[in-house]
C-alpha cells in the first residue's frame, strides 16, 4: 500500500483527512458520479476503502447494539460489535445501560468471553483485573502490591466507554465525543421512527436473543439495499407472489404494481418505505370495501399498522401519536427501510394460517467483519403488551418470513455475496451501481412535510440518499 515516497502509515493518515485518496491514486470522491448517480462497484470490496469506513463511519456515528429488554436486570450483559470492536452492553445497579470496550486495558484480553449473562463484576480471566457493569475499574488481585502499577490512578484504568443513548428501548452507542445527539443523525426521519417504535405505552420487547450468521459480502450490499430498494421485490422476491404472500401475481406484470406503491421518505441516509395501506388492504384482506373512501379512523380500525394486534394497543397508539403520524399510518404505514449506516428494518403484515392478519417486527444490524464479510444480526420484537399467545404466533411467523430461514430474506442473503465477488474482478470493479430511476420529490396532499417525500412507485430516490450520506462522511468529513 506504500506510495513511492511514503510509508503505509503516512498513506493511512492521508486517508483519514477530507477528500482522501486511495493508494492507487484514486480520490474516494472519484468513486461517485453525482451527476449520473453512479457508484463504483469497487466500493463493494476494496479493503483500503473498508479501513477508511471503519474510521470515518463506524467510529463516528451512533450504532445500534440491541434492545433494553435483552438485559432487563441489574448486572445483565450482552457482548456486541461496534464496527470490528467488541463491546460489553451492561446494566448497572441503578438500571442505567453502559457500553464499554471489551478489551482489558492491562494486556488486551477480552474481559467477557461469554456472549451474555449476569455479573456485577467482570473479571478478566488472564490476570484478574476486574470491572463493574459501568466499565469502571474495581481493582487487580494483590491490591497491596499495586499490581495495576502506580502510574495511573484507578479512575484511569476502566474499560474504554462509549456514549450511550436509548431510543424507544433501542440501545445506541458511539465512540465520537463530538457527535450530536442521536436525534441529529435520525434527522426528520425521527418522526417516522417514533411511529414504528413508540406507538404503545408499554413499548417493545425482544422475542428472544438475536439470530446471528455470517454473510461473505461487503456490509454495504445489505446497507444500501435497506434504504428503500423496492424494485428488487418484483424479481428477487418473485416467489412470494408465486406462493401468494404478496398479493396477486398477475398484478406484478402490470404497470400498477401494488407492492411497490406508497411513499418513500428519506433524510440523512435514513430511509423508509411507507407501503400503501389501500393496496395492502386489497391484497391481504380483500373484502371488496373501498378503502379509499374511508376516514383515517375507519382505516386504522380495518388495517392497523403491523404489531397493533388489538383494540387496546390501537387506543394507545391513538393517544401517543400526533394526528399527522396517525394519518401516515392510515395512508401508508412505514414498514421497510433502514437507519444509516447499518440497520435494516422490516415491519411486516403476514397472513396467518387461520386467515387473520398477523405481523412482526424484524430489526437487523449489518456488522462489518472485513471488506468481504459481515455478520447479519436479527432481532424479532413485538409490543410488550401483546397477549402471550399472540406473541407465540408472531414469533413463528416472523421467523418464517425474516432472518436466517425467512422466506423473504433468504433470497437477499444469497444475493449479496455475488456483488462482492463481482467487485473483485479487474473489470467487475470498473462497473457501476446505478441509481438513475428517479421519481423526484412528490409529497401527496395531506402528507406531513417530514423528510424528503417520494410518493408513487418506489424508485431509486431514497437509495441514492443513502449514498449521498455515505459520500458526505467519506469524502467531505
Amino acid at each position: 500500500m506504500a506510495t513511492q515516497n511514503g510509508n503505509a502509515n503516512e498513506d493511512y493518515a492521508m486517508l483519514r483527512k477530507a477528500n482522501p485518496v486511495l493508494s492507487d491514486g484514486t480520490p474516494i470522491a472519484d468513486l461517485f458520479n453525482l451527476e449520473t448517480r453512479e457508484v463504483s462497484l469497487s466500493t463493494m470490496y476494496d479493503p483500503e476503502l473498508y479501513r477508511v469506513e471503519m474510521d470515518k463511519i463506524f467510529a463516528k456515528v451512533w450504532l445500534l447494539l440491541g434492545h433494553a429488554t435483552e438485559i432487563p436486570k441489574s448486572g445483565d450483559y450482552v457482548v456486541r460489535h461496534m464496527g470490528e470492536d467488541e463491546v460489553i452492553v451492561a446494566r448497572d445497579r441503578k438500571g442505567e445501560i453502559h457500553v464499554s470496550l471489551n478489551v482489558c486495558p492491562h494486556r488486551g484480553m477480552h474481559v467477557c468471553t461469554a456472549e451474555s449473562g449476569n455479573a456485577q463484576v467482570h473479571k478478566c480471566i488472564y490476570h484478574g483485573w476486574a470491572f463493574r457493569p459501568d466499565g469502571s475499574f474495581v481493582g487487580a488481585p494483590l491490591e497491596k502490591e499495586k499490581m495495576h502499577g502506580d502510574i495511573y490512578p484507578k479512575e484511569k484504568l476502566g474499560l474504554k466507554k462509549a456514549r450511550v443513548q436509548l431510543f424507544h428501548g433501542l440501545i445506541f452507542a458511539t465512540w465520537n465525543e463530538e457527535a450530536g445527539p442521536l436525534e441529529e443523525q435520525l434527522g426528520d426521519m425521527k418522526f417516522y421512527y417514533d411511529i414504528m417504535f413508540g406507538k404503545t405505552h408499554g413499548g417493545m420487547e425482544v422475542l428472544g436473543p438475536p439470530q446471528r450468521l455470517t454473510i461473505p459480502a461487503n456490509w454495504k450490499t445489505a446497507g444500501e439495499q435497506a434504504a428503500c430498494d423496492g424494485f428488487h421485490t418484483l424479481t428477487l422476491h418473485r416467489s412470494q407472489f408465486d406462493i401468494g404472500n404478496f398479493g396477486n401475481i398477475s398484478d406484478t406484470m402490470e404497470e400498477f404494481v401494488p407492492i411497490m406503491q406508497g411513499v418513500n421518505v428519506a433524510d440523512r441516509g435514513n430511509a423508509l418505505r411507507c407501503i400503501s395501506a389501500a393496496t395492502t388492504f386489497a391484497s391481504v384482506i380483500g373484502s371488496g370495501e373501498d378503502f379509499n373512501k374511508m376516514s383515517d379512523d375507519e382505516r386504522l380500525a380495518k388495517l392497523p399498522p403491523p404489531g397493533i394486534v388489538n383494540a387496546q394497543l390501537l387506543a394507545e397508539m391513538k393517544e401517543r401519536l400526533s394526528p399527522e403520524q396517525l394519518h401516515v399510518c392510515a395512508v401508508a404505514p412505514p414498514q421497510v427501510g433502514n437507519m444509516f449506516p447499518n440497520v435494516n428494518l422490516l415491519f411486516i403484515y403476514a397472513p396467518l394460517p387461520d386467515g387473520t392478519l398477523g405481523s412482526g417486527y424484524v430489526v437487523h444490524t449489518i456488522n462489518p467483519r472485513g471488506p468481504d464479510k459481515f455478520q447479519w444480526i436479527t432481532w424479532f420484537l413485538c409490543e410488550k403488551d401483546t397477549p402471550e399467545e399472540v406473541k407465540d404466533i408472531i414469533r413463528a411467523v416472523a421467523v418464517q418470513t425474516g432472518g436466517t430461514s425467512g422466506l423473504i430474506e433468504q433470497d437477499d442473503s444469497d444475493t449479496w455475496p455475488h456483488m462482492t465477488e463481482a467487485a473483485r474482478g479487474s473489470w467487475g470493479r470498473t462497473e457501476t451501481l446505478k441509481y438513475q430511476a428517479i421519481g423526484g420529490v412528490n409529497r401527496p396532499e395531506g402528507w406531513p412535510d417530514k423528510a424528503n417525500v417520494y410518493a408513487g412507485l418506489s424508485k431509486d430516490d431514497a437509495q441514492w440518499h443513502w449514498w449521498l450520506q455515505y459520500h458526505e462522511l467519506m469524502v467531505n468529513k
Binding site: A114, Q211, L213, T214, A217, S239, D242, S413, D414
Partner: protein, 189 residues
C-alpha cells in the same frame, strides 16, 4: 487393585445417567429412517420428503449463545429459533422451492450432503414413539465456491411408527455454532 478409577479420581464419579436404549431391531429401523430422510433431502426430493413428516410436526432450530459453563442450561433459546416451523409452513417452503422456479436462495440448488451418525434411540411414554438423538454433519457447496460451508449439530427427534415405517413428529436441531457460518437456512437440517 486399590488403584481403581474411583480411588484415584479427585472427586466422586457419578454413574452414567442415560436411560436404557431401545432394542436393536427398532434401532436399526430408525437408523434406516434417518438415512431415508437424508437421502430424500440430499437428492432434492423435497416433495417426497413431506411424506415422512407428521401432520403435527414441530421443527425448531434454536438460537444459541455462548455462555459461561454455569449458565450452560440457557445456551439454547427455548423461544427463538433460526427456524420455527410446523407441517404447514414446511410444506409452503417446499412448495416455493419445488414449484415456483423463482426460489433464488436455492436455485441453482446447493450441493448438500448430510452425514448422520451416533444414533441413539429411546422408548417414550407413548407406545410407538421414540426419542432419537443423532449427530449431523452437513456440507454445503454453492456456485463457484471452492470450499464447503459446514454445519455440525445434534438432532433431537421424536419419531412415530406409521405402518411399516416412521414419521417425524418433532425435530430440534442444536447447532454447534452460535454464529451460523452460512448466509441462510434455505435448506433443511
Amino acid at each position: 487393585m486399590s488403584n481403581t478409577a474411583e480411588k484415584i479420581a479427585p472427586f466422586e464419579i457419578p454413574p452414567i445417567s442415560l436411560p436404557k436404549p431401545t432394542d436393536s431391531i427398532t434401532h436399526y429401523q430408525i437408523q434406516q429412517f434417518l438415512h431415508l430422510d437424508a437421502y430424500l433431502l440430499d437428492h432434492h426430493l423435497l416433495d417426497q420428503w413431506l411424506n415422512i413428516l407428521a401432520p403435527d410436526l414441530r421443527y425448531f432450530v434454536p438460537v444459541r449463545q455462548t455462555k459461561e459453563r454455569k449458565d450452560r442450561d440457557s445456551e439454547f433459546s427455548t423461544k427463538l429459533g433460526h427456524m420455527d416451523d410446523n407441517f404447514q409452513s414446511i410444506a409452503l417452503r417446499v412448495h416455493r422451492l419445488v414449484n415456483t422456479g423463482t426460489a433464488w436462495s436455492e436455485d441453482p440448488a446447493s450441493r448438500v450432503r448430510r452425514f448422520v451418525s451416533n444414533v441413539s434411540v429411546w422408548e417414550t411414554d407413548v407406545t410407538g414413539e421414540y426419542d432419537v438423538i443423532s449427530y449431523l454433519l452437513l456440507t454445503r457447496n454453492r456456485f463457484y465456491q471452492e470450499d464447503y460451508t459446514l454445519l455440525s449439530a445434534e438432532r433431537h427427534d421424536r419419531v412415530r411408527r406409521k405402518g411399516e415405517t416412521f414419521e417425524l413428529v418433532r425435530r430440534e436441531v442444536r447447532m454447534d455454532q452460535s454464529v451460523l457460518g452460512m448466509p441462510n437456512l434455505a435448506i433443511f437440517l
